[in-house]
Amino acid sequence: MGQISTFLGVLRYEFRMQIHRLPFWATFAGFAALVFVVAGQGNWSHWTGNRGPFDSFSDWTVVVNLFLPPAMGILLSDRLSRDRKLHIDELLNTYPGSIGARLLGKYAGTLLATLLPMVIIYGVGVGYIVAHWQSIQGWSSVLQALPGVAALFLTIIVPGACFIAAFSLAGPLFLWLPLYQFLFVCYWFWGNVFAPSKGIPTLSDTILTPFGGYMLAGFFGEDSGLVVHQATFIQGVESLLLLLSISVLVLLALWRYLLWQQARQ
């Protein structure tokens, strides 16, 4: 019970700390403007190509999951390294709660806090799409497609967010923070959007892409319009499980590293 209360306490604290940061919301406001402009230029203007509201929900999911994760990765990159810089970790190590519970609470709290503005931005877009399609196909068609929105968010956006959050917590402990941020920005483009036809090896056509192209094609039969256009259901499952498994492995490795560090002190 002590570990659970530590976990929940840290989760609540990290969540509140993150959502009270003004630059956090300012950053997502900037990214929100970007995704709405992109959607207005691209998918939202291609109504004739979409057969129904679910196609538009898929396109909107692609836009959100393409541009918002870089913000998430960079906003989370200083959370753990900041504790070390301010020597808060030394103080927290004197508390009875275990490192594992604190780490998991920090991960969950910061992840949930960073997902909150993504949910808001995603919801605004969904609302706009609902209003548009309601006038064309009526409420029944739109309401039938609405549960798919939750499925899209949970199977495409959340696994990628878990993957990014794990690496953003762990990476800056081993790399200089500005270098990690630079490499992460470059990775996001190279590992998710960079076309394999350019000749340079890339992960963008593998199941190890947090962008979620395989889940989108495998689970919902939708084409992201980027690198991955088709996938089987099994490939979607493999991609989802791989992203979540790697997130767990990274957190486990981080936990062992922090334990080792504490033992050395």
Binding site: A26, G30, L34, F67, D78, P178, G199, I200
Partner: protein, 240 residues
């Protein structure tokens, strides 16, 4: 005195600021060699390193240094104006990155590894070489200026770096839109690397000048922001 100050600032910044731009170009060279050995076209790699990666890393360094100075109150009591100190630091970052880019660009030009624009062919080789430096100079100045502006606006390294990163990713993904929309050309940062040669010559030079002009405007804004002592002292508390 000036050299002492410069060496002091370099020691303060640390070896990472010096090593990273060098490592980026060396990484680009290594990748180019590997691709050439595997018979893959690699002309865009080095151009990309010059135009896309070096400016981004310089921008991130500027946001790191300028968003939060732990000795700000002390700096403000010194006879040297704080804006001069910050511009000295920015100048060191931009200058070192520019030096790496210049050396790399000259080597690339010597080995004919750069894109030749149609309007350049009639020019003297020296002038061609000079204009070629705009490939990296314009986006470098732009990222440094915008990095400074964002760092002073948000007083948060993380927020300003995230926005710089978002701009970088967006430009790479939306380059088709940027090429085909003339009114977006003034904000198209990676024109040389991402535009096909056939379309490049029509607007490349004006695009470079527009980026430089935008950078100058934001540097001026940054200079005024640095002179606003009261705003500087209202830090965002725990932001790193």
């Amino acid at each position: 005195m000036l050299f002492d100050r410069i060496f002091y600032e370099i020691r303060l910044m640390g070896k990472q600021f010096i090593a990273v731009p060098v490592c980026i170009m060396l990484g680009g060279v290594l990748l180019t060699v590997v691709l050439r050995l595997s018979q893959t076209r690699a002309i865009g790699v080095l151009s990309g390193c010059l135009e896309m990666f070096l400016p981004l890393v310089a921008g991130i360094f500027v946001t790191t240094l300028c968003s939060n100075d732990s000795s700000l109150e002390l700096q403000l009591t010194l006879p040297t104006p704080y804006h001069r100190t910050v511009f000295c630091r920015i100048g060191l970052i931009a200058g070192w990155t520019a030096l790496i880019a210049l050396i790399s660009s000259v080597i690339m030009y010597s080995f004919h590894l750069t894109k030749v624009l149609t309007f350049e062919r009639a020019w003297a080789p020296f002038l061609q070489g000079l204009i070629e430096q705009l490939v990296w100079l314009a986006p470098l100045c732009w990222f440094v200026a915008i990095g400074l502006f964002l760092a002073l606006l948000f007083r948060s390294r993380i927020a300003s770096t995230a926005l710089l990163g978002g701009i970088w990713v967006s430009e790479n993904i939306m380059y088709g839109l940027l090429i085909s929309t003339p009114w977006l050309h003034p904000v198209f940062l990676f024109t040389t690397t991402l535009t096909p040669v056939a379309y490049l010559s029509t607007y490349w030079l004006s695009n470079r000048y527009e980026l430089l002009a935008t950078a100058l405007v934001f540097l001026l804004v940054g200079w005024f922001q640095l002179r606003n002592t009261e705003a500087l002292l209202q830090k965002s508390g725990s932001e790193g």
